[in-house]
Symmetry: C2
Subunit: 256 residues, 2 copies
Amino acid sequence: MAVGGERVTAAVLIIGDEILSGRTQDVNLNAIAKYLATYGVDLAEARVVPDIEQEIVDAVNHLRAKYDYLITTGGIGPTHDDITADSVAKAFGVTAPEHPEIMAMLRERWGEPNAARRRMAHVPEGGVLVKNPVQGPPGFQKENVFVLAGVPAIMRGMLDDVGPRLRTGAVVISKTVRVTGTGEGTIAAPLEAVAKAHPDLSIGSYPFFAPPDLYGASLVIRGRDPVEVEAAVVELMATLADLGVRGVERLPDGAA
Amino acid sequence: MAVGGERVTAAVLIIGDEILSGRTQDVNLNAIAKYLATYGVDLAEARVVPDIEQEIVDAVNHLRAKYDYLITTGGIGPTHDDITADSVAKAFGVTAPEHPEIMAMLRERWGEPNAARRRMAHVPEGGVLVKNPVQGPPGFQKENVFVLAGVPAIMRGMLDDVGPRLRTGAVVISKTVRVTGTGEGTIAAPLEAVAKAHPDLSIGSYPFFAPPDLYGASLVIRGRDPVEVEAAVVELMATLADLGVRGVERLPDGAA
C-alpha cells in the first residue's frame, strides 16, 4: 500500500463474540475506513477478537505500538460481557475508575445508577471522553486509542468526535478504470508495468463477475499526488488501447 | 467464549487493500463464521492485512500456530497484487512451483498461458488443491492453512471443499431471548447471575435500537450441551419475570 507522501496510520480492533460467531455482519470496519480516508489516515490493519480480556489486552498493546492510532468498537455497555474499558486500562497498566462526567450523566438519566450501569462510567486513568450524540454513554480516548461503541449508528456518531483529534495525512486520491469482458490474466502485464513505473502509487485489480457472462476487473489507482494518479490512469488506458483491449471505461472520480 | 466440550478453533485472514481502503465491504468473514459453525469449529480470531508480503507472512505464521486451522481469502488471481500463494509459501519456508493440475487447467482454457496466468498455478510445495466449482483456478490447502479466493461467490463455492477436511467439534447451539423496551442496564445483573451459574456457556447481550423509541437487547446463550443451554434460557426467563421485566420473548431456535 505505497501511496506516497507523509503517512498517518491506524488500525481497527473489533471486539465481540457476535462477529466471530457469525451472528452479526460487521459494518463498522468499512465505515471507519471511509471516514479515516477523508482525513488522509490509512487504515493499515484490522483485527476481530472475542470478549476475552487477554486477547483484547494483547491486541491493543500490539496495535497501539505499531500504528499512529487504534480505534476499537464494541464492549462498552453495562453487561458482564462488556469488558473493553477495563481491558484497555489493563493494556495501559492503569485502573479504570468511574468518570465523574459519565456518572453525572447516568445520575441525570437514572437517579443513582445500579452496579451494571456504573460499569459504563469506567474510563482508564487519563482518558478523555468521546462524545456520543446518539444514545447512551460516551466513548473515550486514552492516548492514541479511541474506544467506541459497537452499535453501528452510535459508532458512526462517535466518529465525528474522533476525526478532529487526528493528526491528518495527505488525502489519498483514487481513480478507477473498469474493464468489462476481458479477464485479469490478459491485462495483468500492462497493469504491472504501470505499477512498476509508479512505485509511489497503489494499484489494485478487483475482479467481478456475474454469471453467465458478465466479467472483468476494476483497476484502482490510488495515491497522494493527484498529478501522478492522473498520469498513471492515462498511461494505463493508452496501454490497454494499444493492446486492443475492449470494454475499457474510466469511471467518474469517486466511483468504485 | 467458553462453550464447553472439545473445542476446534480457526482463524480467518482477509488479504486485501480494498477492504482496508473502504472500497469493499467484506462479507466473507461472516460467511466463513456461519459455515465453520455447522462443523462445530469456533472462529476465534480474524485479521485483515494489506497486500504486503511481510504482513501476510507474519499473520499466517502467528495464526496457523495459534489455532487449529487458518482460512485466508483474497490475493490468488493473476495480477501483480495477487501475492498470497507466494507469501504463504514463504511463511512455510518452501517454494511455490507451478502445480501441474492447475497448469493443465490453464492450458485447456487458454492454450499456453501467459506469465500472469501462470501465477495462478503457484502452490506451496506439499499443497493440496481446493476445488473451485464456480470460475477460475482452484484454491489450496497447505497443512492447516486453506487459501481461498476473495470474490465472495467463488470463496463460498470453495468452502464446500474445506468442511469435509476439518476435524469437527461439537456443534454450538444458540438460543436467543429478546427483551424489548427495557435497557441492558436493568437486565445486566440477572443476566450475569445466569452467566456465572453456567461457566461453560457463552452468554452475550447485543443491544438494538431504532429511534425514536424501539430499544432493547438480544440475549444470546451459546453452548455445546443442549440441555444446559435450555436450562439457562428457562432460568433467565424466570428471573426476568420475577423482576417484572416486560417485553421478554424467546425467539424460535435459529433466529438471532
